[in-house]
Symmetry: C2
């Protein structure tokens, strides 16, 4: 998500574009997958040293509301975030041994959503995370 597009979305939502928000947006894209608030704060500080962690939390909330970011839960007690990709989505493969995160663009959930709709429930979103052992950890262990 480039800055202009993001700025437009924020303004469309009645929100202001601040140096802090630009810093968080850049941190988010630089960090890639599933970064937590502390990590995002640390990275955002490089561009805007005075930014507070509170502002990072508030910004992530605003970004999520405007569809610029989305939350990811990996079960480690903190909420993680990543920039949303327009019209696409991916899922995470979490290695239970080393903690590294890989991703898949493949998603086999849509057909299931159809079946569920036939039962009356309209699915608008889903979360899928896969856990196991990455190639590295599977061989040398």
């Amino acid at each position: 998500m480039d800055l202009d597009r993001a700025a437009g979305r924020l303004r469309a939502g009645g929100r202001r574009v601040t140096a802090q928000r630009r810093a968080v947006l850049r941190a988010l894209t630089e960090l890639g997958c599933a970064a937590d608030a502390e990590e995002i704060h640390g990275r955002a500080r490089r561009m805007h040293p005075r930014i507070g962690l509170v502002t990072v939390y508030r910004t992530l909330e605003a970004f999520t509301a405007e569809g610029l970011a989305q939350s990811v839960f990996l079960g480690d007690g903190r909420t993680r975030y990543e920039a949303t990709e327009q019209g696409r989505h991916h899922h995470h493969l979490v290695c239970l041994h080393c903690g590294r995160i890989a991703t898949t663009d493949e998603c086999t959930v849509q057909p299931l959503e159809g079946t569920i709709l036939r039962r009356g429930f309209e699915v608008t979103a889903h979360r899928l995370e896969l856990f196991g052992y990455c190639a590295r950890c599977r061989t040398r262990r």
Copy 2:
């Protein structure tokens, strides 16, 4: 999961079978899907009035480690738990309007696990939650 089976699994893991753990196990099966620690505590108290919330947390941790229970994350800031069904699993449909939870036994994730394995990552578990609007909330709103 019946008591004998559960007791066996606990003992196999070097753990003891206590009145508190029996109460939590029963609470878990009575409550069904995705109950949080407070709810489980409230229910367990009916059978064992002196049980503390701390013990409930510790028991849920033990049960999870022994495969008797599993955690569920619905994104509301608390960890939820449910008894594991042997050899089966299901997924949750969370209504974004009324909060009610429905379930599906259908799971389209396994073929994806195969594809992923071909890339070297061995999937041992997955979490899938679906969000949207239930029949009730979809019609009358």
